[in-house]
Amino acid sequence: MVVLESLRIALAALRANGMRSLLTTLGIVIGVAAVVAVVSVVQGLQHLASDVFEGVGAAFVHVEVNQDRQRGPGLIAKQVKLTAEDAQAVREQVSGIRYFTRIAAGSAQVKYGERRHQPESVMGVDEAYQEVMNHAVDRGRFLSRLDLENHRKVAVIGPKVADKLKLGRQPLGKEIYVGNLPVTVIGVMEAKGEALGTDLDDRVFLPFGTAQELFGRAATDRVELDLQAVAPAQVDAVRDAIRRLLRHRHQLPAGRPDDFRVIVQDELLKQITGFLSGVTAVVGGVVAIALLVGGIGIMNVMLVSVTERTREIGVRKAVGARRRDILLQFLIEAVALALAGGIAGLALGYGLGVLVVAVVPAHLPPAHVPLWAVGLSCGFSAAVGIFFGIYPAGKAARLDPIEALRFE
């Protein structure tokens, strides 16, 4: 009974002081909006990251040219290379490697009849690519050792390429052009979707040597290596062996930094989770401060409200309100104020999340506010209302009815 009455009074008071209520709850609005906006975007990113890295597993190692080292001293910066010969050396001299593939990536238009399409990338790879990347073919077969050795003019394509070229139900055996190179489709990869802004299904795979012929020697001087160690425990040893070998081959004196990068799964995950936890920490800080400010604002406005309504409190006590009735009334008002802020923050945060996803060009997943975030926001707002409302409410409850009735 008193709860309902209190709720009615609280809402009436909020309406009566609309502007004051709005300004008071701004801290909470901002706090909750920040959380919700970041959560809605980070949720998507985390999802993406785990998608990508769960696929390749813990024994995965990636080697690429270190772009940063190209801007070296001197007028003509030396072109940093990672050549097919380097790759060959790694494969032959480093032990503990289970699967290994070179990757020579380039771009070329593909054509089937009159249909043309520009895939995201055309990649020359070795036959172990599908084991290294844990990416299987859906139909037909992947490139074989014979395809590689003979530089055969065959291609395995992603499902999106097959779709764009309208290869129909029987894509296998059809002749398409990659650039000006006629190749036969021997397989279609299984669909993997998008990850970290690239479409994994919009790719064409050629035998490494065939790609070299297509792109020319220059393009294949900067290959990437992807490999799987025999076990996750071997990853560090493999990485160190690759570094020693490549430093030796690139004749880097001691003290010069690497002109290549060896990235292991562990580090990738560390980088991503490090970034995400950094974001989370910053947002957590912002939220803590905003909630603190919002809470102090609520305490302040409730103290003002108690003073303004001293007489009302006196009247209520005179007609039979007990201390806890008054306490409850002002506590409910504080919580209603905080919750209103929390709900406004939820709406604002969701709006921001949608905006971020719309503005950022990368393929972010749609902003999504999980139910736990809604619950958490409302819970936190209510908690702030109770925590900062208890003092003013207690002050109101302890008022002496005689003094309160005399108050001008």
Partner: protein, 242 residues
């Protein structure tokens, strides 16, 4: 039969730092159910303190106060709130209505704290307002009502829980003389209907509406006499002791 109000050797002493103020200095007072009593006195005579005690807003420093058989001096804060809710109907000089709240809801207020269901509250509040002649003003806010109408709403609020005591503190202090007469006539009607009415005032003509006049000075009862209005029937009733 025990009196409705029975004050015996009541002292109220305020500690004002160095000195003690004896606001009430040994009051003995009995008021029977159905009486209409005016409590008079200059400011500083202790009449406000006495009213606060009678209204269970405060407890005596020493002495005993029985209201309808309950020893008020033994009650704690929340029990005092309960007895105010059940036994007392307050009428204040400044009306003390809740702003931005319509007449009906203002009158409902004591019933909310009595824990009555909404339907019953509404019905009783409506009847109380009809009784004071405001049946057509149920949904007016106080700022839409005249002073006399506001005091009528306050009286309806005081009546709504059928209290054993109507306690009015300078009920006409903020009203013009014509409206004052209307309000005092309303108290007359309520008294005639069987309500016990205690009016605290410093105005003689207002006190003249009562049937018995208790005058205070320096925290003591100076005089306690029936007024000229007292009918023979009232004179035969058990007289005041003290």
């Amino acid at each position: 039969m025990a009196a409705l109000i029975d004050l015996a050797a009541v002292f109220k002493i305020y500690d004002m730092g160095a000195e003690q103020v004896h606001a009430l200095n040994g009051i003995d007072l009995r008021i029977e159910s159905g009486e209409y009593v005016a409590i008079m006195g200059a400011s500083g005579s202790g009449k406000s303190t006495l009213m606060n005690l009678l209204g269970c807003l405060d407890t005596p420093t020493s002495g005993s106060y029985r209201l309808n058989g309950t020893a008020v001096e033994e009650l704690d804060d929340s029990q005092l709130a309960g007895i105010r809710n059940r036994e007392i109907g307050f009428v204040f000089q400044t009306f003390n209505l809740l702003p931005r709240t319509d007449a009906l809801h203002n009158v409902e207020l004591p019933l909310i704290y009595a824990g009555l269901p909404r339907r019953e509250r509404r019905e009783r509040a409506r009847r109380a307002l009809q009784r004071v002649g405001l049946g057509d003003r149920l949904h007016h806010n106080p700022n839409e009502l005249s002073g006399g109408q506001r005091q009528r709403v306050a009286i309806a609020r005081a009546l709504v829980n059928d209290p054993s005591l109507l306690l009015a503190d300078e009920p006409t202090g903020n009203l013009d003389s014509a409206t004052s007469i209307e309000i005092m006539e309303l108290f007359d009607q309520l008294h005639a209907a069987g309500n016990t009415v205690v009016v605290v005032t410093h105005e003689l003509d207002i006190a003249g509406y009562a049937w018995r006049r208790v005058s205070l000075r320096d925290g003591k009862v100076l005089s306690d006499t029936p007024t000229e209005r007292a009918a023979p029937a009232a004179r035969e009733a058990p007289g005041p002791t003290g």
